[in-house]
């Protein structure tokens, strides 16, 4: 028995070794092809039949003769111009997108690329197993959301407990009043009458009267002061926009730089609201079917501007320049605008009051490094004091710096 088992094992091993060696030989052949494919072709073509930009290349060696592929890769434009039916059909099918010509590759190199593509047909089975493992990861990630749910449930529990405690206080208070609410007579007296009776008793009490008057005065005073301070401050203003654009997605998830759309932020007074052609740089291809994106297409077709709602309204009586703060001062956008990359809808985070401006001008050191404009100012400042040069030292608190 044991001998038989050993024999089995040995033969199994032999078969495995054989397959491995075949695979490694194949791999050597395809190594060059793989490198060429990954560097040049993979941006537009997949080894499967998935369409990336151009057609998927699975089974290309069966579809076209090798000579045709070689001439095509060397100069696709010439093949189309020659009137080759397959080439012309291909060109028309893929929106007349021209493939880049690669005249530098030898027929052998192109053959090795095709060999690599053919080898992938068998290898495709393996990544499927990997995909299952990868699929498990998001489940673990969502446990974070589950945790949040437990916290919410716990909070709800606490709130219920508080409610119960309050109820017991209310019931014990009502029990203390002259008419016991649980008695039959108590149930018969209507609610409003009971409230009125209790109210009369309370108003008769002078201590309660003064207390209530004081409380009301304080509350009214606080409300008045709050609303007076709130005049002209739009902090927390997050208007609904004509298109539901998400900064969280664009600036956060895809890390598109603020300047890409707000082109003026390092150059001028205003940061600029992007024109629709900037949206179209990506959305000519991405999410074309979304109703929100189609609003851009409609506005372009009609040559109608998208009327975005302005979020940050600095009063016209104060002058502010973006470039001075971002380009010269080197401040980050988040310094004043908050965590834009986490906002689904943009909200005004800073108060934009004069006190807020002045506070920063008092604290912030001048970004004088490598800027010859400040050289003499720094020299003069350093001759008088050891404190670093702050914005307030170069007129950051002068009225006419911003109001003129």
């Amino acid at each position: 028995m044991t001998i038989m088992k050993r024999l089995k094992n040995v033969s199994l091993m032999a078969i495995l070794v054989f397959f491995a060696s075949v695979a490694s030989v194949k791999a050597q052949d395809n190594a060059e092809g793989e490198q060429i494919f990954k560097n040049n072709c993979s941006t537009c073509h997949a080894v499967t039949d998935e369409v990336v930009v151009g057609p998927g290349l699975k089974g290309i060696s069966q579809r076209r003769p090798i000579e045709w592929i070689v001439t095509w890769v060397h100069n696709p434009q010439a093949v189309i111009a020659s009137g080759d039916k397959y080439a012309v059909d291909l060109y028309n099918k893929y929106n007349k997108a021209q493939m880049t010509a690669y005249p530098g590759y030898s027929a052998a190199q192109i053959t090795s690329v095709i060999a690599y593509i053919d080898a992938q047909v068998t290898a495709v089975v393996a990544p499927v197993a990997g995909a299952v493992v990868a699929g498990a990861a998001p489940a673990a990630g969502s446990s974070n959301g589950g945790m949040m749910q437990y916290v919410m449930i716990a909070l709800l529990g606490v709130m219920v407990l508080v409610l119960v405690a309050l109820l017991s206080i209310v019931s014990s208070l009502t029990k203390l009043s002259t008419i016991t609410p649980d008695s039959i007579e108590g149930q018969k007296i209507p609610l409003l009458q009971r409230i009125a009776e209790n109210g009369k008793k309370l108003t008769a009490n002078s201590a309660f009267k003064t207390g209530a008057a004081l409380l009301i005065t304080l509350l009214i005073g606080k409300a008045t002061l709050d609303s007076a301070y709130g005049i002209g401050i739009h902090q927390g203003y997050a208007p609904e926009q004509p298109i539901q654009f998400s900064h969280k997605l664009h600036a956060g998830q895809y890390e598109i730089n603020c300047t890409y759309c707000h082109t003026g932020v390092y150059k001028g007074k205003g940061a600029n609201i992007p024109s629709a052609n900037i949206c179209m740089n990506c959305h000519n291809a991405i999410k074309r079917e979304s109703p929100e994106i189609q609003k851009i297409y409609r506005s372009l077709e009609k040559d109608e501007p998208i009327q975005w709602v302005r979020v940050h309204n600095l009063p016209d009586l104060a002058y502010f320049n973006h470039a001075q703060h971002t380009n010269v001062g080197g401040l980050e956008c988040t310094n004043c605008h908050g965590e834009i990359a986490k906002m689904e809808v943009v909200q005004q985070r800073s108060s934009l009051t004069m006190g807020w401006c002045i506070d920063c001008h008092r604290k912030t050191e001048v970004n004088a490094k490598g800027n010859a404009y400040y050289d003499k100012l720094v020299e003069l400042h350093n001759s008088e004091t050891k404190e670093p040069l702050k914005v307030q030292n170069i007129g950051g608190l002068e009225c006419s710096k911003c109001h003129y």
Partner: protein
Amino acid sequence: MFTNQTKSLLLSGVIALSITSCADKHNNQGTEFAPNMYHSVGYEPLSQSEGDTNHVNPYGMNMRLPVKGTVPRRYYGQQAKTDSIDGDLLEMDLVSRNIKAGDMTSSENLLTNPFEPTETNLEAGKLQYERYCQHCHGEAGKGDGLVAKLYKGVPVYSSDALKNLNDGHIYHTITHGKGRMWPHGSQISSSDRWKIVLYVHQLQQAP
């Protein structure tokens, strides 16, 4: 079941809820004191003039497109010739403005970078690359930016077809677009575009 006590509790609950669940505050800007000091009397770009005072422009807009074929005028003439960098830059600007969007060959033959690949210029080019290109073309120009995964077809700079492209070709691609890439000339100033070209040359040679 519905005793007076429970009724009173329900009533107070409803009142408390209706008081606390206030109206949507996000669309409300709040009170403005003296609004005529807030809103500009002069025409500000990107805003519509208050009370539709601007009847000349469509939609009451304060901005208009420049007249077709006009070129921004800065130091054309005498002054430009004295400053070598600005002179070269302006010359290239004028040449490139006469090249049509589809005419890649002219750009390749006529345009050369007015900036030298000094350390400062390369650094400035890298900064502009990070701002305008990186999200698609990737940190090292391998076409693996975060947006490229959705947009697809973003090339590798160091690939055999692209690694030897010259100044004019890259400048033309940024300005007018090429293949799937759309024109970016309206977003990036010509001097920044030339600095990006310097940095892209560096990425083309990267392994």
